[in-house]
Symmetry: C2
Subunit: 246 residues, 2 copies
């Protein structure tokens, strides 16, 4: 974990702290904006776990600073803990899949971009950071509608984790109630984008692509690009993403 | 995470894999011996998280090799994630506490050696490693009897975690049942030691002290030393621990 870096206009504030998981993508940027609008002092938690590009980490940093997070904490997770995923190994990222395969589907059809137990590890760190900060609120941008079929994005996982975390911590054992907020969980991508635009999120700062080119431009063809493109279209919002011409 | 190191006599085997959390202490050494006797190929998972001494990591390595673990994986967790504990900061480790304060007590009385959300983070990594290995069994040596009052050592936490992990993983979503084994959870320290002796655990290889001297010798006065000493006494087993003469 690198030291927490207070962003540009760090402010002293008596507001209640919350931890917000931030990836640099569209969903987590919107989630941070929602947590800010809920009145929390937001401490962004960003993971570096052997992603194949640093573009999304830079996006996370831009988003946190621009939206006014109280701090940014970057944790390095060694990629060996997350074997067997196309996001951390040389497996090919699927491209131009048919739209119906990107929508919710059954548990037998989890894509190769699944990273073992990722949200479990992320939320556990968030719980540790929350306890260190005296925070009882954790936000994450998982979504079970326009998603990729990952088991750890389902509401029943979030509920089960909240119960485990409550029992794991000193604060929980002493009666505090830990809240895991997943405000986007039942929203479509278009609804997420419309809410983000209302809250002033600049989506040009965000990065969603699994397979950007050498200049950090989105491929336009991976599952994440396809879901994002369709979301802007359905929301009736101009897509600010810069796509690779290739 | 450092690369997995096959210990001395690594064996090729068709046995079912399991992940065993190993600290180098008495409880986790006994747990590894139990997992071995249950017939699993045991993959030891050891965490380094800014403990104040490397004595316990060396002990974990000795124990894993001696008992015949199939692999040892050491994960580095940055200590900044675990603020506010005497085990990772300069807070004083309590010494020579009265025996009654070492026994189970209510949740309001959690000692300063508590590390925020530690077992939650440890078990999450174990779940990720288990999924990578194709393992459905995780062993950990938590104990809710002769313990130090940590909330994340209680059976209700283990049960809640098992449910969350089951929902978090591809294997769980596809129907596999994840088992979190906590075989020591209701045993006294004396029972643990007796079972370990039956299974051939050499407790001279283990290290329990929170505050060893410069030569790695146990202080004999911290909570962990006091519980360990009393356990050997009650078990009627000679204590092989080398205590600091100071």
């Amino acid at each position: 974990m690198t030291a927490s870096i207070p962003p540009g206009d760090a402010h002293e504030s008596p507001r209640t702290p919350a931890v917000v998981l931030l990836s640099g993508g569209l969903d987590s940027a919107t989630t941070l904006a929602i947590a800010m609008s809920d009145g929390f002092d937001c401490h962004a938690l960003v993971f570096e776990y052997g992603q194949r590009h640093r573009v999304e980490l830079e996006a996370a940093d831009r988003v946190a600073r621009t939206l006014g997070a109280a701090s940014i904490t970057q944790v390095h997770l060694d990629p060996d803990a997350f074997l067997g995923s196309a996001l951390t190994t040389d497996l090919a990222v699927p491209k131009d899949r048919a739209p119906e395969t990107l929508e919710p589907h059954d548990a037998g059809d989890i894509p190769v971009t699944y990273v073992p137990a990722r949200n479990l590890v992320f939320l556990s760190y968030a719980t540790a950071l929350a306890e260190s900060l005296g925070a009882s609120d954790i936000y994450l941008g998982v979504n079970a509608v326009d998603y990729s079929g990952y088991p750890d994005c389902r509401p029943e996982f979030i509920d089960a984790f909240q119960r485990a975390a409550q029992l794991a911590t000193r604060a929980g054992a002493q009666g505090a109630t830990l809240h895991i907020h997943a405000p986007l969980i039942s929203w479509t991508k278009a609804q997420i984008i419309r809410r983000g635009v209302e809250l002033g999120v600049d989506y040009a700062l965000t990065h969603s692509c699994y397979d950007p080119d050498g200049q950090g431009r989105a491929c336009g063809h991976c599952d994440s690009c396809l879901l994002r493109k369709a979301g802007f279209e359905r929301a009736g919002v101009a897509d600010p993403t810069i796509y690779s011409p290739a």
